[in-house]
């Protein structure tokens, strides 16, 4: 069954055309590494976010693949060029059918 969680995007809502903007994306997720054990010695299975993608008016401009070494409540900060006004969509996908989506609008002048 698909699960989801809260996510948060921080980026400017306006920008000059051609300028570089910084985007911060964070998701609430334990990122269970798969390398931890219960007190009884049983291995806790991996349950992490595997991919994060950012599309800008439906064109993919950034992608990240996460492994167990990414910390809990994963944060990623990256840049993109403010080419035009529109919508940036952010997607997280992971183990156990995890999926989360967020959006932000930008006005480019």
């Amino acid at each position: 069954m698909s699960k989801t969680s809260r996510t948060s995007i921080t980026m400017p809502s306006t920008a000059k055309k051609g300028s570089i903007i910084e985007i911060r994306a964070i998701a609430q997720h334990d990122m269970e590494s798969g390398f931890r054990y219960t007190e009884g010695g049983k291995q806790i299975p991996r349950d992490i976010i595997r991919t994060f993608t950012c599309t800008y008016n439906n064109v993919e401009v950034f992608k990240a693949e996460f492994y167990s070494g990414i910390g809990a409540n994963p944060l990623i900060i990256f840049t993109t060029v403010a080419v035009e006004s529109g919508t940036l969509e952010f997607k997280w996908a992971g183990d156990g059918g995890y999926e989360a989506v967020n959006q932000a609008s930008i006005t480019v002048s």
Binding site: S5, R6, S8, T10, R24, I26, Q28, D30, M31, G71, A72, N73, L75
Partner: protein, 240 residues
Amino acid sequence: MQGAPKEVTVKQQSSYELMSAENKAMQDDPSLNPAMFWLGDGETLWQQKIGPQNKSCSSCHGDAKKSMRGVATQFPKVIKGKLQTLEGQINQCRVGAQGASPLTYESKDLLALTAFVAFQSKGMPISISETSANAPFLKKGRQTFNERMGQLNLSCAQCHEDRAGLKLGGSLIPQGHPNAYPIYRLEWQTLGSVQRRLRNCMSGVRAQQFEYGSPEMAQLELFLMWRARGLPLESPGVRP
């Protein structure tokens, strides 16, 4: 004043000051602080109608920004003869006013509500003073703080009063003020309460840990908050 403190008056210092620049930034910047998610959950829970009368926190308390402002700086507090912590009072409301079941300590919901309420006092100084009502509890809490405990036979004071600012291994010993709770502790990789942290302290000296929600916990928490009086509340904080 009853029970004149024997503690040497050292300037109070939040353990925020001992953190790396990166961890300080993590606490200060909402776009970096993982605790913000719990605040969002807490805000939702504040509005959630529960119990036989379909009451939410907001049914009685309205806008938390107004009604809860300053509240967290006054807990633990004696209410109707009982020493209540913030978590304890939230549960008292749930059971008494909403007719619902109490939330388990360290559950996501209780942490979220505690964080949400505490956040409304962010930046305000802790304002606990000794009163005739809390004096006996404060005395007990002070005793616990100064008493040796555990297999390592250490008291809180020996590290956090006498040796605060010195190093234990690679880490600086903090004064141990509870002025940022609930905290996103990097060690826990999640948000947790002051009681969870105190239990960690006790396991650190190999002592029998106080139970969640126990009177001993509340008394110790009262003493620690009194000792931290004047320090601004940083909730929800980040700590290693």
